[in-house]
Amino acid sequence: MALKDSGRDPRDHPSRSVFVLLLLACLTVITLDARGGDNSPLDPVRSIAGNIVGPVEAATATAVRPFSDIGSYLRTTRGLRNDVAKLQSENSQLRSTVETAPLDRARLNELDGLTRTAKDTGYSLVAARVVAMGPMQSFSRTVTIDAGTSSGVRADMTVLNNDGLVGRVIRATRTTSTVLLIVDPDSVVGGRLGSNLEIGVISGQSLTQKRDDLNLELVDNSVVPERGDVVATWGSDNGVPYVAGIPIGRVASVVSNPSQTEKRAVITPFVDFTALDVVGVVVPNGTHGDRVVIKADGGIK
C-alpha cells in the first residue's frame, strides 16, 4: 500500500490525538454555527474577519485590476467577448441607471401593466465594485463589494447592476459588505411574470446542469409561464430586502412534471454572475456616506 512505513514514523504518534481534537473542534464550530441560526456565536468572529480581510481584498482587487483586462481574455465564461467594452462602459452607464429607471419602468409597464405607487419611484444608489468572489467549491454564490456601513450600506439592501438584479447584502462591515447572489442555492426572490402579472418564487437552486440558471415556481398552478417572458422583482415591504420592478431574467424553458401539480420554469438571468464588476446598492433617499450617492433624479450627491 501507499502508506508504506509512514504509519511507523515516531512523529506520527502524537498526531492522532491532535487530529481527533481538531476534528472535535471542527464539529463544535459547525454545531455552534448551525444551531445559532441568525444569532450565531460565530458572527462576531465573521465581523472581525471581515474588518481585517475585507480591506485587504479591496486593496488586492485594486492592485490587480489593471491586469484583469488581460485576464478576461483567458476567462472561459459567458459574455467573454463583450467584457472589455462592458467594463469600460458600465461605470458611466450605472450613473444613468437611475435616470433610465423610469424608462425601464415604462418598458416594463408596457410589458406587464404593472402599476406603481409614487412611493416606488425613485431610490438612490451607492456605486461599488466587486472585490472578491466566493469560490464555486464552497457551493455558495457570494461576492464582496468595496462599500460598507461607512457608505450607508446595511444588511438586506438590494444590489443591482446595469443588466438587472444581482442579489442582496447579507452582512456589512465598515468598508466592505458581502452580497448573496440570486443564483445562490439559499437565495429566494419574489418575482412577477411580465406578461400576466402572475407572482412566483425564484430560487437559486437550478433544475438544469447550468449553474447560473434560476428556478421559478408560480403560486398559481394553472398558469403556464411563456418562453421569453421577462421576470421582474415583485418587491417587498419597504423594499427590504428587494425593491420592486428590477428585471431578473427571461423564461428559458418550462418544466412540466405530470406527477406534480406545480409548474416550474427555468429562468436565464440577465446578469452574468461570473463577470460582475460595478454594482449599485439601493439605499434609502437621503443617505449620507463617504461615497457618491446617485440620486433618483440622476443627480450626484
Partner: protein
C-alpha cells in the same frame, strides 16, 4: 522565533485565501478557482507531517469559513482541511519520493477535501446543489489544483522548510 514563524504562517494562509477570492476569480472556470488554501495545507503535510498540517488545516479552513465573502456554516472547510492535512501527512514519504505521486496526492486531497465539504453541506442542508452539479464542480476543482501544483508546490515547499523550527531534523 516561534511567534515570528506563526506570523509568517498566518500571513501565508491569509495570502492564499485572498488570492483565491480576489485574484483568481478573473481566471475562474464557471466560478471554480484553484483551492490555494488546500494546496498550502497539502504542501505543509509533505514538508512537516500530519500533525502540523492538520493544525494548519484547521486555521486555514476556519479563515476560509469566516472571511468574506463566505456565507456557509463555519467549520465546514476547517473539517475538510484538517482531514486533508492529516491524510496527506500520512503519505508524505511517498509523495516526496516522486513528482507523479505528489501530483496524484494533490488530486486525491482536492477530491477528498471538496467532497467532505460538499457532504457536510448535504448533511446540514446548507448550500447543497444537485449531485450532478456538485460532481462537475469537484472535477473542475481537482483539475485546477493539479494544474497549479507544479507552480505552487516547489515554492511552498521552500517556504515551509525555511519556516521549520531548527531543533526538528528532517
Amino acid at each position: 522565533m516561534t511567534a515570528i514563524r506563526a506570523f509568517f504562517l498566518a500571513a501565508l494562509v491569509m495570502a492564499a485565501v485572498i488570492l483565491q477570492v480576489a485574484v483568481f476569480r478573473y481566471v475562474s472556470i464557471d466560478g471554480v478557482v484553484p483551492n490555494l488554501a488546500l494546496l498550502v495545507v497539502v504542501v505543509a503535510a509533505f514538508a512537516r507531517g500530519p500533525q502540523f498540517a492538520a493544525l494548519l488545516g484547521f486555521g486555514a479552513g476556519l479563515l476560509l469559513d469566516v472571511a468574506p465573502p463566505a456565507d456557509h456554516i463555519a467549520g465546514r472547510w476547517a473539517l475538510a482541511l484538517v482531514i486533508v492535512g492529516y491524510l496527506a501527512g500520512r503519505v508524505r514519504q511517498d509523495a516526496r519520493s516522486s513528482t507523479l505521486v505528489a501530483l496524484m496526492t494533490v488530486a486525491a486531497c482536492s477530491f477528498v477535501g471538496t467532497s467532505i465539504y460538499a457532504i457536510t453541506g448535504l448533511v446540514l442542508q446548507d448550500d447543497a446543489l444537485p449531485a450532478g452539479q456538485m460532481l462537475q464542480v469537484i472535477g473542475t476543482s481537482v483539475l485546477w489544483d493539479v494544474v497549479i501544483t507544479p507552480l505552487a508546490l516547489p515554492l511552498l515547499m521552500v517556504v515551509f522548510l525555511r519556516l521549520r523550527p531548527p531543533q526538528v531534523a528532517a
